[in-house]
């Protein structure tokens, strides 16, 4: 499904990563793969693939393990409390770390004295961050160093409450906490700015005095553009891998039958990973071992190897279990680097887990947004032009754009966007489950709803007019059926408590991380293991790897030992962008296939049959042509010449190549969600009663886990729509709800009845043809709820979260 809007693809990549079409293989074969949706015109697609590729997998219905509801591989360890997370790691002699962080949103350090902390009984290392290349790594020579007074020129300018200044390592968390408080700091406070709107104004306190631009490289981001906006503003970003502006927007607006122009605002959301960011770092002369709560073990290893000048082979990162990341746990992190420095200094392992407050203020967030959306429509419903200007702040960081929904979801020949980043004196943002797209849906899908009403159309049917995505069309159909969709006039319920129905849809680009490898090992005792550094962040990666290997070897999922989350194994992808399933499972299947061929080769030799005549199924190895030749897998492995067969494979390019290059696959992962809400017009209270979520993720490998992820996306969307909000005190710059008490998340009674509709959709892209579901599940929810709220009360809310306060205000009651 190529993007119909695509006029010109500007390749944002260097020449060696140029786009390429179908891959030409030296030794290739033509295969036919399932294509489309079973029951809805499923066909076959012929692809030319490498001869190393395993034979095409039929549709799920014809499989034994893949596509079946399979118990989560590690569930037993989770329900019994035996699963060891980073926060549970205890090593002999382990110390505990604690940061000292800035209490001011903008300040210069006038003096700093760590001597009392260093002398405190039980403290083994103290490290102060300094702002010069290399200085932040190794400057302070160890726990017995004399007290140092730091040259203030070397100390960082503090730009947000929570910015790390220094850290200590001590024998208990109590001692570390106490010692960190003993670090004496004098601050010279400076004026600061926290609000998106104020930071854009002339005369606002400046976050970065002078931005150095790289000459010749001022592209899309990096220049302060609008003339009436000063300081603190970067951008705009006007394009992406999907292209830049297209058509003539002004002309199209002039030609439109009607134009809608609205402003939308979304809040800052924090990730609230239940396990906070953190590591246990163990610096040894021969190996740095780091237990990390991360979404990317290989990335943490690479960061640490680069920073500490170590070969990658001497850095080992382990993530056996991790308690949630949602996009925020990439890279070694300031805590990871600090723990490593402290471990090196102290000569002992150091555990450094952020406190709940630190998690909120320093570990990332979803930036807020102020979106000015203008869309032109024809009376037949066609969208003539889309113009989206947005501002957002990721605090002292960048990346506050609102995604590609406006650009890419609906057919529209004229499009333009300007997305600005605004610097403020607040903690940096981080990728958060479908960065930008969640914000983008909130505005675009409300406007589509409004246009439908203007056109006198059922908003569901209206989308059939403007949306060319075939699978999404099917989602609307099946979702509406499950939901019992019937369009109701907005605000038509009598009585104070009003019911509303709404829907919204989303889009996510299929993306593959090619740096995805795995090893499959068959042992002579009949045990089978699959290994990769890829981590299971709760999505169920362990289970789907076991399923894929089991399917290939004719075994059961529980026969497969999955060893992942360790960089001693082949590199797996980072788990972000919904890339994991689509990236690693083909590598795993191909490795399993290779190992299987090796094993079958040895069996074929013993039986004197052709290897192609052998089949592995239901725990047996047998000859298709000679039914007398059959033995169990356990017997077959005894024919092995060596004790082990091992095979490693990496993710090949998509069958049929990539749309743009760099792993950007053809096709978009669509999603459609329907919401039913109750709005109490007297108290402003909104309750989401029911959500139907229709999704596709290519071949669903384990429908039970797919359901779980969709549930999770919907629930996170409910939180975003109604409750979550990082609240900063504007006088002190502190987040005053940096806890789980006042930062409000959905709990049991806020959970709607959720029904999932999973469309099995084959694209003939790889040996498993799977895609991810994490992001798509989260994208449309808040938009669907907003449309349902409008449907209930007949008044539209343009700002998140939709609190009782905002509802009452919108209704004019308050």
């Amino acid at each position: 499904m190529a993007n119909p809007n695509k006029k010109k693809i500007v390749l944002p990549v260097a020449p060696d990563n140029q786009a390429h079409g179908p891959v030409k293989h030296l030794h290739s074969k033509k295969v036919k793969l399932p294509y489309g949706v079973p029951g809805h015109g499923l066909t076959e697609m012929e692809r030319e693939v490498s001869i190393d590729e395993p034979p095409p997998l039929p549709i799920n219905e014809k499989l034994n393990v893949v596509g079946k509801r399979t118990k989560r591989a590690d569930a037993i360890y989770k329900v019994t409390g035996t699963a060891k997370y980073t926060s549970d790691i205890q090593l002999p002699g382990m110390l505990y770390g604690k940061f000292l962080r800035s209490p001011h949103p903008h300040a210069r350090i006038k003096s700093l004295d760590v001597s009392a902390a260093r002398r405190y009984p039980g403290v083994h290392a103290v490290h102060v961050l300094k702002m010069e290349p290399g200085g932040s790594v190794e400057r302070d020579s160890g726990h017995d160093a004399p007290a140092e007074t730091y040259n203030i020129e070397e100390l960082p300018l503090l730009r947000y409450v929570g910015q790390p200044i220094a850290a200590v390592a001590a024998e208990s968390q109590y001692i570390a906490d106490e010692a960190a408080r003993l670090i004496k700091v004098e601050y010279e406070t400076r004026p600061f700015v926290l609000e998106l709107d104020k930071a854009r104004q002339k005369g606002a306190p400046i976050v970065f005095e002078k931005v150095i631009e790289d000459e010749g490289n001022e592209g899309d981001v990096g220049v302060t553009a609008a003339e009436d906006q000063e300081g603190n503003l970067r951008g705009p970003s006007t394009g992406s891998f999907l292209g830049g502006p297209r058509g003539d927007v002004e002309k199209a607006f002039a030609e439109a039958d009607f134009v809608l122009e609205r402003e939308f605002r979304t809040q800052v959301q924090t990730h609230c990973c239940l396990e906070t960011h953190g590591v246990v770092a163990d610096w040894q002369p021969d190996m740095l071992t780091v237990y990390a709560s991360t979404q990317n073990t290989a990335g943490v290893r690479d960061d640490l190897a680069e920073l500490f000048g170590l070969p990658k082979s001497k850095v080992r990162v382990i993530t056996e279990y991790m308690g949630g990341g949602f996009g925020s746990k990439f890279g070694a992190g300031h805590y990871g680097v600090m723990a490593t420095i402290l471990s090196k200094k102290a000569g002992r392992p150091v555990k450094l887990m952020l406190s709940r407050e630190e998690e909120h203020i320093s570990a990332g967030n979803r930036p807020n947004s102020h979106q000015m959306l203008k869309m032109g429509f024809k009376n037949d419903g066609k969208i003539t032009a889309i113009d989206l200007t947005s501002y957002g702040t990721a605090g002292v960081g960048l990346g506050a754009g609102v995604g590609r929904i406006a650009q890419d979801m609906y057919e529209c020949p004229n499009f333009r966007t300007a997305q600005y980043d605004v610097f403020t004196h607040a903690g940096p943002g981080a990728a958060f489950r479908a960065p930008g797209n969640v914000q983008g849906v909130f505005s675009v899908e409300q406007m589509i709803d409004e246009a439908a009403e203007r056109l006198g159309l059922d908003p569901l049917k209206y989308r059939d007019v403007i949306d060319k995505h075939e699978v999404r069309k099917l989602m609307r159909l099946k979702g509406a059926e499950a939901f019992g969709w019937e369009y109701k006039k907005p605000g038509s319920d009598p009585g104070p408590i009003k019911r509303g129905f709404g829907m919204a849809q989303g889009q996510w680009t299929r993306f593959i991380n090619l740096n995805s490898s795995a090893t499959v090992r068959i042992n002579k005792d009949g045990s089978v293991a699959v290994m990769s550094s890829v981590q299971d962040i709760g999505t169920g990666t362990k289970t789907i790897l076991a399923q894929v290997v089991a399917e290939e070897l004719g075994l059961a999922a529980e026969d497969i030992t999955v060893k992942i989350g360790d960089t001693l194994y082949p590199d797996g992808p980072g788990s972000g962008g919904s890339v994991t399933a689509g990236s690693i499972t083909p590598a795993v299947r191909n490795a399993a296939y290779k190992a299987k061929m090796d094993l079958l080769g040895q069996v074929a030799g013993a039986w004197d049959v052709e290897i192609g005549d052998l089949e592995m199924k239901n725990g047996d190895v047998y000859s298709r042509s000679d039914s007398s030749k059959k033995m169990s897998f356990g017997e077959a492995v005894k024919k092995m010449r060596t004790n082990q067969i091992m095979a490693t494979a990496s993710r090949p390019d998509d069958y049929g190549g990539f749309e743009i290059g760099n792993g950007i696959g053809y096709g978009r992962l669509g999603s459609v969600q329907f919401a039913e809400v109750l709005v109490d017009t007297e108290t402003g209270f909104i309750k989401v009663e029911r959500v139907v979520a229709a999704h596709s993720c290519g071949r669903p490998l384990n429908p039970m886990q797919v359901e779980s992820q969709i549930n999770g996306g919907v629930i996170m969307g409910v939180g975003y729509a109604l409750y979550e909000d990082r609240i900063l005190d504007l006088n002190t710059g502190h987040q005053i709800n940096a806890n789980l008490d006042q930062y409000k998340l959905p709990y049991s009674k806020e959970i709607p009845k959720i029904e999932t509709v999973i469309i099995e959709h084959y694209g003939a892209f790889s040996s498993t043809d799977a895609s991810g579901i994490g992001e798509p599940a989260n994208i449309p929810t808040a938009g669907a709820i907003a449309n349902a709220v409008y449907n209930a009360i007949g008044v539209r809310l343009y700002e998140l979260p939709m609190t009782p306060q905002k509802v009452l205000t919108a209704l004019g009651v308050s």
Partner: protein
């Protein structure tokens, strides 16, 4: 958490002997680990210590003292319970459910099931406000002996709409809303002996002393909580409104106890929670109900009266219509 000494008090008298300050005093005047304070379950105490805003030198545990966890109901005398009775005990008591419906509702909607299993009624009445500035170690507010009220000039969407002059925090106990509506009394035991005071006088607004929320003195412990018996014709209800239905703090809660003679209201007590630094009686609204046959119109009038004198802050004006509607619903539900 700071280091502290710990002792299990064997008796009330000894506990009184051992203690030297209330928690508010320990936070303002006896700082630096010098205070000796009592604790019941400690759910609020530990919270304060973990935030670093309370640093007691010695914690005196009351759990070993026999007899403080008794609950009794008598048709003539009413309900009485000791300070160590947990919120779950109240929630699960058949007598409370049958005779004190508003109290049961308040107990059933407080905190989380886990906290209800732990937290005691003594501790619940003595707990400190949840104002986010008060709870933050980074804000030395008036309640902690400072000079600034950060809520008045800052984020105040969950704060008071009444008595907002000195400190607009709201009283944290939603159970107190119901207890005051039932005209509950509290028995305090100190070095001089016992004294019994109505809960409506036990809680004090910020104007009296911004650093504390009640009249308990340095060496006083709540030893009993008593509610008068309910007569036939008593109708009561309690409604709590949070942003969430699950675990959440109140944005507004209302308790109503009415003495009905058929459709006619003889007497009424209306109390607002999360509206002021104390559980707030709304006498003017009560007067609107008294002696009247309850109708929608009467209720609406009472609701208007109940919000007279409200002085909402910059961000909590929504609480005015919210309380009006909550009051209407609570009265309607009470007379059912």
């Amino acid at each position: 958490m700071n280091r502290f000494e710990y002792i299990k008090a064997p008796s009330i008298d000894e506990a009184i002997d051992m203690m030297d300050s209330t928690v508010p005093e320990a936070m303002v005047t006896k700082t630096g680990g010098s205070a000796k304070v009592v604790k019941a379950a400690g759910t609020d105490l530990l919270d304060l210590i973990k935030e670093g805003i309370l640093e007691p030198g010695r914690v005196i545990d009351l759990k070993n003292i026999p007899g403080l966890d008794k609950l009794s109901y008598d048709k003539e005398k009413g309900l009485a319970f000791g300070p160590m009775v947990t919120i779950a005990d109240l929630e699960n008591s058949p007598e409370v459910k049958k005779h004190y419906r508003a109290l049961h509702e308040a107990a059933a909607h407080a905190a989380t099931p886990q906290i209800r299993n732990m937290a005691t009624m003594g501790g619940n009445l003595m707990q400190r406000p949840r104002c986010w500035y008060f709870r933050s170690n980074g804000h030395h507010c008036r309640k902690k002996g400072g000079t600034t009220c950060f809520a008045q000039i800052g984020q105040n969407q969950f704060h008071s709409i009444f008595l907002t002059n000195v400190c607009p925090c709201v009283h944290p106990s939603s159970l107190a809303t119901a207890l005051v509506a039932y005209d509950g009394k509290v028995e305090l035991t100190g070095p001089e002996g016992k004294r019994v005071i109505p809960l409506s006088e036990f809680f004090t607004p910020s104007e009296v002393d911004v650093t504390c929320e009640n009249v308990a003195t340095s060496q006083e412990i709540i030893t009993n909580i008593m509610l008068p018996p309910v007569k036939s014709g008593t109708r009561a209800f309690y409604v709590k409104h949070g942003q969430r239905e699950s675990y959440d703090w109140s944005m507004g809660d209302v308790a109503v106890v009415m003495q009905m003679d058929g459709k006619k209201c003889q007497d009424a007590r209306i109390v607002f929670g999360a509206a002021a630094p104390i559980p707030l009686r709304r006498e003017a609204a009560e007067e609107e109900l008294k002696g009247k046959t309850i109708s929608e119109k009467v209720i609406a009038k009472a609701a208007e009266k109940a919000l007279e004198g409200a002085t909402p802050l910059a961000q909590n004006g929504y609480k005015v219509p919210l309380f009006k509607n909550l009051l209407k619903r609570t009265v309607t539900e009470a007379i059912g």
